[in-house]
């Protein structure tokens, strides 16, 4: 079943066309990746899905519901949540508080419940903290619950962002360069975690990723963007061999006979 669909999405910033009529579909339960050189429009694409940018043209459907025209918080409520390329945690709040903020759209409490601290409030607050602790456990941060987010080391901040996004109970998780700055080993363990989440929580994942080893290993489908246009799409192995992709990554080179193949795409 198609979970997310984009049709002819175009986004321009003044004279710059960041996305040019991009079509895209994502099957439920898949792990898909968007790759492409810097400035190809990958993050812009994410920002369109999450309501931060409104494209000039095109449509985005999530489970058949129109996404465009909704605010980011409403889209989160629909079930799409994300992490950011440059980590954007609430730095002066503790790790668990960060996760609790992620639950905001799932908290059914009214202002009056909060002010009166009635049984309903106590029950939901207790549940929130329990779930927060559980999610921190999933991200391997159980013992860091009371640390300020800004005091966590880089890798843990990335995982905290993941836990925070999971707290919104999304069915689609968008991860913008989740392994950036990680060692190969850290990246691998994160991917193992993500795979487990996809299986256990019926999650669908869309990644922007530069680490090609990761992309090739985990993705069911890979989409390649270059200068705001989709230049290739398909199984990782297909995409890897696509000459346009190789060109986009390595640049157009004068072909010299006998120089060997242009090589495979590397990280």
């Amino acid at each position: 079943m198609v979970l997310l669909e984009a049709r002819g999405v175009s986004k321009r910033f003044g004279g710059l066309t960041a996305l040019n009529g991009v079509d895209f579909t994502l099957e439920e339960g898949h792990i898909a990746s968007i790759i492409g050189p810097n400035g190809a429009g990958k993050t812009t694409f994410f920002n369109v899905f999450t309501g931060i940018y409104v494209p000039e043209e095109g449509a985005v459907l999530f489970r058949g519901t129109a996404v465009l025209g909704r605010r980011p918080d409403q889209i989160t409520e629909l079930g799409i949540c994300r992490t950011f390329q440059n980590i954007r945690l609430f730095s002066r709040m503790t790790a668990i508080e960060n996760v609790l903020v992620g639950m905001h759209s799932r908290v059914p409490l009214s202002f009056w419940d909060v002010i009166s601290r009635n049984a309903r409030w106590r029950e939901h607050e207790r549940r929130q903290w329990e779930r927060g602790a559980e999610l921190l456990g999933v991200a391997g941060l159980r013992d860091k619950a009371n640390e300020l987010a800004r005091n966590l080391p880089y890798g843990e901040q990335r995982r905290l962002e993941l836990a925070r996004a999971l707290a919104a109970d999304p069915s689609l998780l968008l991860l913008d360069e989740p392994t950036a700055g990680m060692t190969q080993g850290e990246a691998r363990s994160l991917m193992a975690l993500l795979r487990r989440l996809v299986e256990e929580r019926k999650l669908t994942l869309l990644l922007i990723e530069h680490n090609m080893r990761v992309v090739m290993e985990v993705s069911d489908r890979v989409t390649v963007l270059d200068y705001g246009e989709k230049i290739a799409e398909g199984q990782p192995t297909e995409v890897q061999r696509n000459p346009r992709v190789i060109e986009a990554y390595l640049g157009r080179r004068q072909w010299t006979p006998g120089a060997g193949p242009a090589g495979s795409v590397r990280a």
Partner: protein
């Protein structure tokens, strides 16, 4: 050394109790000694810092604020006045703390909401409303004061939303400028809405404003106490202020420690990320404005009843800045910080600097000579009361250099997660 002492419950309790009783006894013997009264205030601060069982601390706080302070206030009416003013500013600071400290929306026109609350009771609790509606139905009876405590909440919250709606798209500096403008607009309106219909009586202000009813007068008589308004009213207003401050602290704490407070802090930290995590920015910001404003509105009602007379002079830009300075000094986003900041600034302005002026005056009149300099020659410009703003500013600058996080910065709550299970 003091810190070590305060960390040990037994000696700390003993020290605080002895100090409180000693200073109270001291004030009863020399009612005009500001130093003794300051030591009393200092003991309250020690009580806050001392480590002791929560119940004991609560009991001592109630005893101090509910019994000792009224005793001191009856001995010297000025002390009661200071206590009431401190209470009013504490409530204001707590309200602004929600907007600026938690949600991170810099509001430079906060006093406008205080004015809205004050004018709502001033107009209907005095004959002023007759000029608007005609007839002789006003002032509303003293009992209406209690209704207006809630009307103040509603009207100020409405004004908060009214201000919030157009400015929500603005950030930081721009927001600050617009709120500054809003504050001035309210003041100018109060100043000029005496024509064509006389709403506010302009710069001349509104008087006499009804005070709350002494509904317990029969009870006092039965107890053999003469319900003399001059004695009763300060105590009565003090009790009302305490109630309002108590309610404000409670509401603040409950909001702070809930999904609403966490959403506000998330907005302060990174509003794009907050919205991406499902926090509805517009609704939460409006809620912050409305909550902060409502505290100001209700103390505004109390303020106008206490003053009997109000005019636009009480609601200038400097007042907004003053309240802002209180929470910056105390520690942004921290409830104890807002309380302490408001107390310190109010006491500094009303008591310490004025006290210094009085003392210098006495020295001058006595013709004291210091280091060969005859104080009689001291120019009148050098009265501390005349440059209290300068001293105040100096303190702020020094604070920002040496302790920018404030006196009692916000502490993160540490939760024992295992216990929650």
């Amino acid at each position: 050394m003091i810190k070590q002492l305060l960390d040990r419950p037994g000696p700390a309790t003993a020290l605080v109790v002895v100090l409180l009783l000693l200073t109270t006894w001291g004030v009863t013997h020399s009612p005009r000694s500001i130093v003794l009264f300051m030591m009393f205030q200092g003991s309250i601060l020690l009580l806050y810092f001392a480590r002791m069982p929560t119940r004991l601390k609560a009991a001592l706080t109630i005893l101090t604020l509910g019994v000792l302070m009224p005793i001191l206030g009856t001995i010297n009416a000025y002390y009661m006045e200071i206590a009431i003013q401190v209470g009013i500013f504490v409530a204001l600071a707590l309200g602004l703390n929600i907007v600026v400290g938690l949600a991170g929306l810099l509001d430079l026109g906060y006093v406008a909401f205080f004015a809205v609350g004050a004018y709502s009771w001033a107009i209907f609790g005095s004959p002023q409303a007759n000029l608007i509606f005609g007839g002789e139905h006003f002032p509303l009876g003293p009992w209406w004061f209690f209704v207006f405590l809630f009307v103040g909440v509603a009207v100020a919250a409405g004004a908060g939303i009214l201000l919030g709606l157009p400015v929500l798209r603005l950030h930081g500096d721009y927001l600050a400028l617009v709120t500054l403008g809003f504050g001035e607009v309210i003041r100018v309106l109060a100043n000029n809405l005496d024509k064509p219909i006389n709403f506010t009586n302009g710069p001349k202000g509104i008087t006499p404003i009804n005070r709350p009813p002494i509904f317990f007068a029969p009870l006092l008589r039965a107890l053999g106490i003469d319900p003399d308004p001059n004695v009763i009213y300060p105590l009565y207003l003090y009790a009302l202020v305490l109630l309002i401050v108590g309610a404000t602290v409670l509401a603040n704490r409950r909001l702070e420690d809930s999904h609403i407070g966490r959403a506000w802090e998330a907005i302060r930290e990174d509003q794009t990320a907050a919205q991406a995590m499902g926090v509805p920015l517009v609704r939460m910001k409006l809620l912050a404005f409305a909550c902060g404003a409502s505290f100001a509105g209700t103390v505004g009602v109390l303020f106008s009843a206490k003053q009997i007379f109000i005019n636009p002079e009480s609601f200038t830009f400097m007042e907004s800045i003053g309240v802002l300075a209180m929470i910056i000094l105390g520690g942004m986003g921290s409830i104890p910080g807002a309380i302490l900041g408001a107390s310190v600034v109010t006491i500094l302005n009303l008591q310490i600097l004025k006290g210094l002026s009085l003392w210098l005056n006495e020295l001058r009149n006595a013709g004291t000579v210091i280091f060969g300099y005859d104080l009689t020659n001291l120019p009148t410009q050098l009265e501390p009361a005349k440059y209290e703003r300068m001293i105040f500013g100096l303190i702020l600058v020094l604070m920002m250099i040496f302790r920018p996080q404030g006196i009692l910065p916000a502490k993160r709550r540490h939760r024992e997660l295992e216990e929650e299970r």
